[in-house]
Symmetry: C2
Subunit: 346 residues, 2 copies
DNA sequence: CTGTTAGCGCGTTCAT
DNA sequence: ATGAACGCGCTAACAG
């Protein structure tokens, strides 16, 4: 199946290749007569121009490289969807590199050396393919400064960030503050928090939001209500058992992700503590399952699609040489369900 | 800007471009001396060959087009991960097209005309980019015969199929049969099934597996135990209420997906029927949340990674002109958890 | 055996 | 409306 080229068309239509090119791209006026003839031949021969050759001359590939740390982690597909949404509207193509970090190194993000080479290879491949820019999609918000060298090509980070590039990451602190405000508006004063690990930036930022609410609303600050988890259900379970064993247990728990909220539910159920009547729970991430649990848990939805879309938008602006805001933080959105109620009068 | 080309290297190293090319590709012997000099200059100038130009000449892009019906649907990321796994090992690149069907048309897969144009565009774009083959990743197993024309380029379907191309789809019938065998081995004889909609091929195949077990193990066939759901939790909930209201309710329920199993759990809980003591439940898909529910539900894991990996393997064989099995059906795997127990003696 | 020259792949675009 | 140069790297043919 030797592909038919522009010169086959030119020959059959009795014109030069230049004319065919002009007809195809509307780059210049062509007599209606010949134009139609050319178009007809193109149709007949089912001709498709070769974008590779076109790119070589035009120096444009209309292709963006996307490096995803791991497409199987829950936040990534929605971000890619946002990227595609933008790409569709602007006739851009996506060259996807999946680092498969979760499969290859698990959660050991601190062991940078174990994946630095994957990143370098990915970038190198993408640059070789002449992508016009790169979007880096993390699986865990963290500082990646100095890890990736794109030799000058624009790059935008999302779900992570660096000190010197454009990055898009939702506002952790604001979301935690809003969660607290919501619980407080329902009448809660004794609110516990189950955080992620404190070596994680979002953990600390969400804790800041928590603490800001504590001071701003003048809640009693009780260190016993502050528990450090590890993002997994089991830690939510165990820390909730501790909380419920307190002489004066909290009336509400803010879990920093929905997975740990699962543990909260389990511990409460085992202890015979009904949710939300005696304990309110609020999660984070709006994972699909948060709607399947009993009770359905109130949580925060992440602006993942928007992050992908804005990453593309920012990248394209950057490619065009426009000024782009370095840090963008779209807001999370409260999803009210059944796991929060006013505290019981006692 | 990586404006530097092979001739810049050649100039600086005082050799011809041919020599540089030979050094880079090891296509011919080059004197150790000059080779080192060239390599040094390449290093110094941080030169990266332009794959676009290379592809134009070599007629090979090492790029595979992947068309995903919707990357945000649960089965797709794992399949893509399998595709990437293979691609990594064979130095292939992935040009990803996300049709976004779930967002654009929802579940109305029968309305082919509403998305035929998206498919055609996707294929056309990919062919223009000179991909060496295409993998089509569905979100719902169904027959796509006649929808996609790749003008001769190899294509492999996964999580769906056509009458004339290679396709990889797990074995629905076998899985349903195994689910039944498992329940029967636990002592169940009165087993209900909550199917998906019967206009769906996998529904019918799983039903075949169910029925095969009924006859093979000589179970009483009671049409009241056969319920048709619509894949959503609500239908699982309502149909289970009907089942529990039966004069002689089933001791086990086979739900054709985990989402409907959520409904089963809810209905049982409301009716005060403990699971698994008085009702065993088995799901399908091994969705993440199936491990977070109470009780954790027993289900079937789908070989998604393997499907992606094998799709790539088959595609590459096909590209090389080798004979490839047209239909491949990797097996699903039982995941034993807490929602199945022997039936209560009554 | 090592290195060079020149044409090619495929479409774009300038000068004629 | 056309011929021919061009983009960038590969490679056949040729020279030393």
């Amino acid at each position: 199946m030797s592909r038919i080229g522009i010169k086959d068309i030119a020959a059959k239509a009795n014109v030069s290749t230049a004319t065919v090119s002009y007809v195809l791209n509307g780059t210049r006026n062509v007599k209606q007569n010949t134009k139609e003839r050319v178009l007809r031949v193109i149709e007949e021969m089912n001709y498709k121009p070769n974008d590779i050759a076109k790119s070589l001359k035009s120096q444009r590939t209309n292709t963006i490289g996307v490096i995803a740390e791991d497409v199987t982690v829950f936040n990534v597909p929605e971000i890619i969807d946002g990227i595609n949404d933008f790409a569709d509207r602007h006739d851009l193509h996506i060259l996807l590199t999946n680092l498969r970090l979760d499969k290859r190194i698990g959660r050991k993000f601190d062991q940078v050396d174990s994946y630095r080479k994957y990143m370098a290879n990915a970038v190198s491949d993408l640059l070789g393919k002449q992508v016009e820019g790169i979007i880096y999609v993390g699986v865990h918000p963290r500082d990646l400064t100095g890890l990736v060298d794109t030799s000058g090509k624009p790059i935008v980070y999302t779900y992570c960030y660096t000190q010197q590039d454009i990055s898009i990451q939702y506002d952790d602190e604001q979301a935690a503050f809003e969660a607290m405000s919501y619980l407080i508006s329902k009448g809660h004063r004794r609110i516990a928090i189950i955080s992620g690990m404190m070596d994680s930036v979002p953990s600390r930022m969400r804790f800041n939001g928590f603490y800001k609410a504590v001071t701003q609303f003048e809640l009693p600050f009780d260190p016993q209500l502050i528990k450090m988890g590890d993002w997994e259900a089991k830690s939510g379970y165990e820390l909730t058992k501790e909380l419920l064993a307190l002489p004066e247990p909290p009336t509400a728990v803010l879990a920093m992700n929905d997975v740990m909220a699962v543990g909260v539910l389990r511990a409460a159920s085992e202890a015979g503590v009904p949710i939300p009547q005696r304990l309110s729970v609020i999660g984070f991430d709006n994972r699909e399952f948060s709607d399947y649990l009993t009770p359905r848990i109130t949580t925060f939805d992440l602006p993942l699609h928007e992050m992908g879309y804005r990453a593309m938008d920012s990248l394209m602006r950057s490619i065009r040489g426009e000024e782009v805001e370095q840090k963008q933080s779209p807001a999370c959105r409260l999803v009210e369900r059944d796991s929060v109620a006013p505290p019981q009068q006692s």
